[in-house]
């Protein structure tokens, strides 16, 4: 098994085996820390409220693309129904927030767990299928969930199990945690949640499940022969991805205060897969890039008065580009191209760093 695992991208560098962080790793870690500290402390002060809200959305959707990237890149399962999963998370969180006075983190955890159970229930039968069929059945199930949601609606403070009351005149907003009532504070809050989710995924990738997923992605028969319980680890990946997406749904509920089923159309799952692939599914940075592509660019274009349709066209071109020339996405391609450019500049006589 170790041969298969070492052959994969994330285990390729020998420095990982030596257990002592190498210099590039230390540099990478410090850059990440500085970026995170900057985003946490400085960003909400520098940006207008419009962009602070946008950054909250970026944090939310980075979690969603993180989960999808985990499925696609680490395990090799393509899901075309993640927006429906997000909707389940948002629905459960909204219902709990209206019904109870529990602290927000507890609600997020419960929304994640409820979504996880739903994801496992969907995954149990669906995981018998592979490849294209699995992708399509997730699309079909997402389509069904969307239709159900359009009928039952999101909770709006009504009573009963569904919590929806169509004749309410004053719909109360979905509450936020008391420590994060303002928009900048809520951005920081969602960033912390997102960091926790990234850490959760990182912890999985670095340990036994990550190795099992890598083996499954390489070759299912080989993984089976190596004694890996394929079914269990696939289901685990599905459960983890659903949990993260559910938590993201909970954060989303507080971020936008009012939820409508029209905000979660099936086709968004398709766009979501497109940006996830563009961002890159083999690195965790890819999820952040995808979050920016999906939420920041539209806000930027909207501010400039450019139609968002150009973005859809760009995403379409991006998918084709990624699939034909750059399978690891922007998160891999841009640094590599920059390094190549740097080398070329240095090699040129009279360049800066010769």
């Amino acid at each position: 098994m170790s041969g298969t695992v070492r052959a994969t991208r994330e285990r390729a560098s020998p420095s990982r085996i030596a257990r002592r962080p190498s210099r590039p790793q230390l540099i990478k870690a410090s850059i990440t820390t500085v970026l995170l500290l900057f985003a946490f402390f400085a960003l909400p002060e520098l940006l207008s409220l419009y962009y602070v809200d946008t950054m909250t959305q970026v944090a939310v959707y980075s979690m969603v693309t993180l989960a999808l990237g985990l499925l696609v890149g680490r395990v090799g399962l393509v899901s075309l129904g993640q927006v429906a999963v997000l909707a389940i998370g948002a629905w459960s969180a909204a219902r709990l927030l209206f019904a109870t006075t529990q602290p927000y983190p507890l609600v997020l955890l419960e929304a994640g767990l409820i979504t996880m159970v739903a994801g496992v229930l969907i995954g149990l039968p669906a995981l018998r299928l592979r490849g294209l069929y699995l992708a399509l059945i997730t699309l079909m199930l997402a389509g069904s969930i969307t239709v159900v949601l359009a009928t039952v609606n999101f909770p709006n403070g009504g009573h009963g199990f569904l919590g929806y009351n169509g004749s309410l005149l004053h719909i109360p907003p979905i509450r936020r945690p008391s420590i994060a009532a303002s928009d900048p504070a809520y951005f920081r809050y969602s960033m912390v949640v997102a960091i926790l989710m990234f850490a959760l995924v990182l912890a999985h990738i670095k340990t036994k499940p990550g190795r099992a997923w890598a083996a499954i992605r390489q070759s299912e028969p080989a993984a089976l022969a190596a004694g890996i319980n394929i079914w269990f680890y696939k289901l685990w990946a599905f459960a983890l991805a659903s949990f993260i997406t559910g938590v993201a749904g909970g954060v989303l509920a507080g971020a936008i205060h009012y939820l409508y089923s029209i905000g979660f159309p099936t086709q968004d799952s398709i766009t979501l897969l497109a940006v996830t692939l563009m961002g890159g599914v083999f690195s965790l940075w890819g999820a952040v890039v995808a979050g920016f592509l999906y939420q920041f660019l539209p806000a930027l274009l909207n501010n400039w008065g450019v139609s968002a349709d150009w973005l859809i066209i760009l995403f379409g071109l991006g998918v084709l580009q990624v699939l034909t020339t750059a399978p690891a996405g922007l998160a891999d391609q841009v640094p590599r191209d920059l390094r190549r450019l740097g080398r070329r500049l240095r090699r040129r006589p009279g360049g800066d760093g010769a």
Partner: protein, 298 residues
């Protein structure tokens, strides 16, 4: 349960819808068998064709048949162009990647359509075929010629495609390629040309389906583009293989979808029909999957 009379009109509309689903499904299956590509942009090219037909006929004042021809030609040309451009580059990749690549085309076309024929402003477009006006009555049910054409197109094209694959030389080549592309190429079949024919055929069917659906359902980029998901249900039940099963499944889905309309408690869930049928069908059919299958599929 409402009285039977309430269901009667929906039998006709359901059969018509099923006919178009069948037509779409057959196009998708033929292309998948010849090239291994599940063409998710099928709805988008049909929508593009229908919108161009609308512009030509209502804005430029062209006669109806020019618009219809343009619709089919545009859908065929876009599909063929995509096939020629990206088909060879992705030929060796697995079916999932090929299908996801057509999502790229779908998004491009969708963006272009939304840009040029923007949906905002509340103006509803409609594409009416002259066959809407004529019609006849069977057992007090009004039937338009468009509905007849939709069902007939489904039946005729399924039968014709079946015969084409079975008896013609090109069809035999397509079936051979479905089995093994490399061996077929070794045997001297012009693989690229056969694939191009399949792409063109699929695109033309997409254009016809787009034209009919624009009339039967709505002329709207979003609706038509993503209606392909419903036709996919029939294709999935046929496991991307049999056009007969595709046809039957499509008719059942179309009928059931429309027959749920008069039942008050289920009417708002009727759009789930294709998804639920596909999910059940797939799960039942996939009970006995073996590991070796994963090597060719994954």
């Amino acid at each position: 349960m409402p009285p039977w009379v309430n269901f009667e009109p929906f039998i006709v509309s359901g059969l018509a819808l099923g006919g178009v689903y069948a037509l779409s499904g057959v196009g998708l299956v033929v292309l998948y068998r010849a090239t291994g590509v599940l063409y998710l942009a099928f709805g988008a090219v049909g929508a593009l064709g229908a919108l161009i037909a609308w512009s030509l006929t209502t804005r430029a004042g062209a006669p109806g048949w020019v618009g219809w021809l343009a619709c089919v030609a545009v859908a065929g040309a876009v599909t063929l162009g995509y096939g020629l451009l990206f088909g060879p580059a992705l030929a060796k990749r697995d079916p999932l990647i090929k299908a996801v690549a057509t999502i790229g085309l779908t998004l491009i076309l969708y963006g272009v359509m939304d840009l040029l024929w923007t949906a905002s402003g509340g103006q509803a477009r409609s594409l009416t075929l002259p066959t809407d006006n004529g019609g006849f009555t069977v057992a007090q049910i009004q039937v338009t010629w468009t509905q007849v054409i939709a069902l007939a197109a489904g039946v005729v094209l399924t039968a014709a495609t079946g015969a084409f694959l079975r008896f013609s030389k090109l069809g035999t080549a397509m079936r051979a390629m479905a089995n093994d592309r490399d061996i077929t190429a070794t045997l001297g079949v012009p693989v690229r040309r056969v694939e191009a024919a399949a792409w063109l055929g699929c695109g033309v069917l997409g254009g016809i389906a787009g034209l009919l659906l624009a009339d039967l359902v709505a002329l709207d980029a979003t609706t038509l583009t993503f209606l392909v998901i419903s036709s996919l249900a029939a294709v999935l039940i046929a496991r991307l293989r049999s056009i007969t099963v595709t046809f039957v499944a499509a008719i059942v889905i179309g009928l059931l979808h429309d027959l749920l309309t008069p039942i008050a408690s289920l009417t708002s869930y009727r759009d789930m029909t294709p998804f639920v049928i596909a999910a059940i069908g797939l799960l039942v059919l996939s009970r006995h999957q073996v590991m070796t299958q994963s090597r060719e599929e994954a």
